[in-house]
Amino acid sequence: MAAPTINASTPATTPAGATTITMAKALNQGIRAAMEANPKVIVMGEDVGKLGGVFRITDGLQKDFGEQRVLDTPLAESGIIGTAVGLAIRGFRPVCEIQFDGFVFPAFDQIVSQVAKLHYRSQGKVKVPIVIRIPFGGGIGAVEHHSESPESYFAHTAGLKVVSCSNPVDAYWMIQQAVECDDPVVFFEPKGRYYEKAVLDTSVAPPPLFSTRVLRPGTHATLASYGPSIRTCLAAANAAATDGIELEVIDLRTLSPLDLPPVFDSVRRTGHLVVVSESPSESSITSEVAARVQQECFYSLEAPVLRVNGFDTPYPPTKLEDEFLPDLDRVLHAVDRSLAW
């Protein structure tokens, strides 16, 4: 496995054709490339046009592609998704932005009742190639409803695919792959990592969208995570290495469908698994990973699968979010518990 380039500081030498880029810019370039590749791709959302989105992910797209391909929509999330369904039936490929994680719920009905079920209901006669981009997760000191991790609701819904990028390189490729996918994809972007940088070399082909990747090889225990917590896990692995403990770090990348064979392979080698996510733990992605790993790797496990999540509470006032969010110490504490089991 090649050394990961994510979240690394700019290397002294940059490969020809490669650029150092933030995740925000990588997403912007990825969406731009998707729009250039297919005139049926349109961008919809609140403030995505003139303003370029509150996080500037769609910056400059309306200027270059026009108001019929980058729509500043009325302020109504169900409307964004509900009209995207009609546009998809018409043959468009809408890329919808939900401004913040906590604002997706007015659209939940359309997502669950129409987006997820239309292909099944029509027995394949109607495709719904919609991408629903949701900036998610905490760590930005925001007010209520701006720091949530609602991915489990969507992973629970058959008919949807759910992915999350953890770094600029994945962001650039995964958003394009999501647009090309004929199924609806809920695309979770770790907003707290939007301005972190990495080297993007577009001459290197990306892995498939719905695939899990080992980011750092290790032998003593496995950390599996996704989105904003990947950086935390890599930092934990660096810290553990100074104590001679080698942690394998796995970026799930795809939350539905899960691609767990790389996790099974890893756990069969390490015997220890800690699953990390900012979302509350109950009935979450981490529960699902734990359940599947105990079923597949029962005799390889040296300890129960442990989880480090946000607590089973509403997202707290953000003066307390450093307590709520899994951090390096909580991850290492779980690793210690597992290894000492």
Binding site: G86, L87, K161, P257
Partner: protein
């Protein structure tokens, strides 16, 4: 055909005249009662007694042949509806959603559509389906619970039934926006979309949002509300103080109330509205003022919430009878014609019954099919595991 002003209620501007006493709040509300028929605002071209009348904004030039054909459609649609209702009573369908009483609204609107126009139904639009060339047989699977709809929404330009109340209004707005974005709007060759929903749906947020979206994007969308007076047990007053067609004004587009039991008026108004939309003047709201003569569904018992007097009064406004009377009285159809339609409807009912009782049950593999457009190894594995489990019972008693 119509002036742009017709939708502006012809009421004096400004405060009440000095001679009139200022109305009380109760009087204002009473004057706006959602269930009043709308008086002069109700577009009607054929009275319940079968008399052809004119309307200053809407009229229609219709041949005897076309009138007979509208009559035929309504009779066949009603016959299929009654047969399906009976099939449910006999245990052949899990549930049926009757359209009895709404034949004129649906056939009028459905026949106003051109081949490239798109329709988004709710779940009672059996008459519109008929007009789109979808035979009633194709509707049965939903109600025999063998499928969720078998017709091709793209090829027929008739979306699958939408059961979540109001969802389809946003879907239709999006589709109509797409027609505009593709440059298919703006002249007489343009395309338009029509969306069907009921009086109950008008309380849904999605319907409000659909009105907003279609308005701000100038979408070529006809919003066709069949006000059949009842949302299961709740009367229209529970949904609105204002006659529903008047809501359009707040969104900035025309709203027209049509006699929903008058197939000519429904055809004329919907044809006009679709033409407005294809020329780029959409959206338009139509409130077809009609009545649900039967239960909400076969699981419902309307005697618990409405008086038979009301039903009896609406029987006198029957959508089919008025056309029959008009055809007979004016010598536009003879008894041989009516006999022929009767025979045709009996044959349709027999075919429908035959088809229904012979419908195969889906196999368990259907559970897993087409969840995703792209291959799904995870579901394939789940399916294979289940089918293997099921196959273990082959030859056993259970």
């Amino acid at each position: 055909m119509s002036s742009a002003e017709h939708w502006t209620p012809d009421r004096p501007a400004g405060p009440p005249s000095a001679t009139a006493a200022t109305p009380t709040t109760e009087q204002v509300i009473a004057g706006l009662r959602a269930t009043s028929e709308g008086g002069a605002d109700l577009v009607q071209l054929l009275t319940p007694e079968g008399e052809r009348v004119t309307h200053p904004d809407f009229d229609i030039d219709i041949s005897p042949e076309e009138l007979r054909s509208l009559y035929r459609d309504m009779v066949l649609v009603r016959r299929a509806d009654r047969e399906a209702n009976a099939l449910q009573r006999q245990g052949q369908l899990g549930i049926w959603v009757p359209l009895l009483g709404q034949e004129a609204a649906q056939v009028g609107a459905g026949r106003a559509m051109r081949p490239l126009d798109m329709a988004f139904p709710s779940y009672r639009e059996h008459g519109v389906a008929w007009c789109r060339g979808i035979p009633p047989q194709d509707l049965l699977g939903i109600f025999r619970t063998t499928d969720h709809g078998t017709w091709d929404p793209i090829a027929t330009r008739f979306n699958l039934y939408t059961i979540v109340i109001g969802n389809q209004v946003l879907n239709a707005a999006g589709y109509a926006m797409g027609q505009r974005f593709e440059g298919k709007v703006g002249d007489d060759d343009g395309e338009a979309t029509i969306c069907f929903f009921g009086d109950g749906a008008t309380s849904q947020g999605d319907v409000h949002e659909g009105f907003v979206w279609s308005a701000v994007y100038d979408a070529p969308l006809v919003l066709f509300c069949q006000n059949n007076q009842w949302a299961i047990s709740e009367p229209t007053e529970r949904q609105s103080r204002l006659p529903l067609y008047q809501r359009a004004r707040g969104y900035g587009f025309p709203g027209i109330r049509v006699d929903g039991n008058d197939v000519l008026a429904c055809l004329a108004v919907t044809r006009w509205a679709l033409d407005e939309c294809r020329h780029g003047n959409g959206p338009v709201l139509i409130e077809a003022f009609t009545y649900r003569m039967d239960a909400h569904t076969t699981t419902d018992d309307p005697t618990r919430y409405r008086l038979s007097d009301e039903v009896e009064a609406w029987k006198l406004k029957d959508p089919i009878e008025r056309v029959r009377v008009h055809l007979s009285r004016n010598g536009l159809a003879d008894s041989a014609f009516f006999d022929q339609i009767q025979a045709e409807s009996d044959a349709l009912a027999a075919d429908l019954r035959e088809f229904c009782v012979n419908m195969p049950d889906p196999g368990p593999e259907r559970i897993f099919s087409n969840v995703y457009a792209e291959p799904s190894p995870v579901l394939d594995a789940q399916r294979d595991e289940y089918l293997e489990y099921v196959s273990g019972f082959e030859g056993s008693e259970h």
